[in-house]
């Protein structure tokens, strides 16, 4: 086990021009080796600037960022050897075919001719692009271009992969595929940093999430930990079939709210520290058909809006 975290961001600050407001105002966090770390925030919150510094493309005005213990500002080349980026917008080399995009990328990182070809073929297969390897990338769809960019990023075996809003604009199939790939990379021990404003994505993929707003980290925890930031978030939610308002049947368990949904269906929320067994027994006693039972945790979206407000950016 390594003592040094994979990424250390310490009091990072960035001002793009002397008169401009600070885009990042003293952000600090650490990413453990093999962790999937999410930067969640509204547009303009400072996510892209933060990963820009991590990937050597933005010079910080204050603070430090270390990747694998190496200061990004002092040793950018050593950092570039360890990191890879999948950008928001396609930036494939349009003068090259798909497979050449992969082989030349590997060449930039010093791989031998033989290694390049073998790895490129394997990547194309893994990302479902076999048969299209000689196409010009101009002819690729958005989803294919994105898969090729991930393949390219992985060509040089980076220990850190940064994904900048990876699923924005992808169809559901491509999105599921990407999520599977993230799981796959996590299993191989690659450290992943992803920015997103998709709550379901962050919730599903990330071990920990930093919520960033106005250039500051306003919350940092596991998805589950973040949900506890919501007030009154404990309880159970039952969906039952009942001829009339089922609320009285659960009154002994805690505070009850009920709403009619469709036909004879009702949603019953019981707040308090009760067990699912109690709720099932209560439904049985009252003669209600129990259709669904879930724990109320509050969604990440609730947490996000709770913390960052509803204003448009």
């Amino acid at each position: 086990m390594h003592a040094v975290p994979m990424i250390e961001v310490d009091e990072l600050r960035k001002r793009y021009a002397p008169q401009a407001p600070e885009a990042v105002k003293g952000i600090s966090f650490g990413v453990e080796r093999g962790e999937v770390f999410g930067l969640l925030g509204p547009n303009g919150a400072g996510k892209t600037t933060t990963i820009g510094v991590m990937t050597t493309r933005v010079r910080p005005t204050g603070g430090t960022v270390r990747v694998d213990g190496i200061d990004v500002r002092k040793h950018p080349v050593a950092v570039k050897q360890r990191i890879a980026v999948v950008p928001q917008r396609p930036n494939l080399d349009r003068s090259l075919s798909a497979i050449e995009n992969l082989t030349f990328h590997a060449a930039y990182f010093g791989f031998s001719r033989q290694e390049r070809r073998v790895r490129a073929q394997a990547m194309l297969e893994r990302f479902g692009l076999e048969g299209r390897e000689n196409d010009r990338v101009d002819n690729y769809s958005g989803g294919m271009a994105q898969r090729l960019m991930i393949a390219r990023a992985l060509m040089h075996e980076p220990s850190v992969l940064v994904l900048d809003e990876p699923t924005t604009g992808l169809d559901p199939q491509s999105r599921l595929f990407l999520w599977d790939q993230v799981e796959n990379l996590r299993a191989r021990g690659v450290t992943l940093v992803l920015t997103t404003h998709d709550m379901a994505e962050a919730d599903r993929l990330c071990d920990r999430i930093a919520i960033v707003d106005h250039g500051e980290v306003i919350a940092l925890d596991t998805p589950r930990g973040l949900r506890t930031l919501l007030p009154s978030a404990q309880g159970l939610e039952l969906t039952v079939a009942a001829p009339e308002d089922p609320a009285p049947g659960y009154a002994t368990l805690g505070d009850v709210e009920s709403t009619a949904t469709i036909e004879d269906r009702w949603t019953v929320r019981v707040y308090g520290a009760l067990s699912p067994g109690d709720a099932v027994a209560a439904a049985d006693r009252a003669g209600h058909d129990l259709i669904e039972l879930r724990r109320i945790e509050g969604t990440l979206e609730d947490v996000f809006v709770h913390l960052t407000g509803r204003d448009l950016r």
């Binding site: 050597t56 080349v77 050593a78 050897q81 890879a84 950008p87 930039y108 893994r126």
Partner: protein
């Protein structure tokens, strides 16, 4: 497609990273290989058309047609050739750095992948200069046999100073590519057509291309203006190397080329680094 299956080739244990110095050299070489590959496999026709068509027409109209119809002396072609070689050299190198950079920084963003290659950002800019300069040299050399076909008196290189020629070609190509680095990193993409009108046209006509610099003595203000154009020193250097007729003093040619290279090289590299790292 199954995602739980892992192709054996990808199961490489944590790779030993190359030493930083080796990694930088390999990355630089690989970036050059990419450009050579693209030049040969994809861009050859467009490169040749862009580089050669304009100078060939200059040679044909000014060196062949005008003397033929009596609008210029028959020997004009001999004076013209060094200027056209210089023009081809400098403009090809300039356009081959500036145009790709404008596009790669803004529209295609494809420079990003190269900026993440393991070498310093400024080295990515220098690599562009190297390749553009080589393209300039190739274009200028290709002009010579074509000129021999077009010009009425052919091309006589019997009295050429070959060492001087090589130095002027190398210096001219470097200056042109460095000027391209300045333009390519300072011009916003929506101004690119304006840039070509405002920069290239004056550059073309104030560079002692179509006349020896010394013959401008009766138009002294213009003679002084042309001294601010790096192309003047390349044209005069070319004239000194292959014709041996009247030309700017050799030491001034050397100073002009050296100052332009340092100035545009510094300015362009600074501009490139600023675009590459925010």
């Amino acid at each position: 497609m199954s995602t739980t299956e892992k192709p054996a080739e990808l199961e490489v244990p944590a790779r030993d990273l190359l030493p930083v110095r080796t990694a930088q050299v390999r990355a630089f070489v690989a970036l050059c290989q990419r450009d050579v590959w693209v030049s040969v496999r994809r861009d050859l026709v467009s490169f040749l058309a862009q580089a050669l068509l304009q100078p060939l027409f200059y040679l044909f109209i000014f060196g062949r047609v005008l003397p033929e119809i009596g609008a210029a002396q028959g020997a004009y072609g001999t004076l013209l050739l060094p200027g056209i070689l210089a023009l081809t050299l400098v403009l090809t190198a300039l356009q081959n750095t500036s145009l790709p950079l404008v596009i790669e920084f803004s529209f295609s963003k494809e420079i990003e992948d190269r900026l993440l290659a393991p070498l310093p950002a400024w080295a990515v800019g220098i690599q562009k200069v190297v390749i553009a300069a080589v393209r300039g040299v190739i274009a200028a050399i290709l002009i010579i046999p074509l000129a021999a076909l077009i010009l009425p008196g052919g091309v006589d290189l019997g009295g050429a100073d070959w060492l001087g020629f090589v130095l002027v070609v190398a210096g001219g190509a470097t200056v042109g590519a460095a000027m391209g680095l300045v333009l390519g990193t300072s011009v916003p993409p929506n101004r690119i057509s304006v840039m070509f009108a405002i920069v290239l046209t004056p550059l073309l006509f104030t560079g002692a291309t179509f006349y020896p610099w010394s013959s401008l003595h009766s138009l002294q203000w213009f003679q002084i203006v042309t001294l601010f154009n790096p192309l003047t020193y390349v044209s005069e250097g070319m004239r000194a190397a292959i014709v041996g007729g009247p030309h700017l003093a050799t030491h001034w040619i050397v100073v002009g080329l050296a100052v332009s290279t340092v100035l545009f090289g510094w300015w362009g590299t600074r501009g490139f680094t600023r675009r590459a790292v925010d």
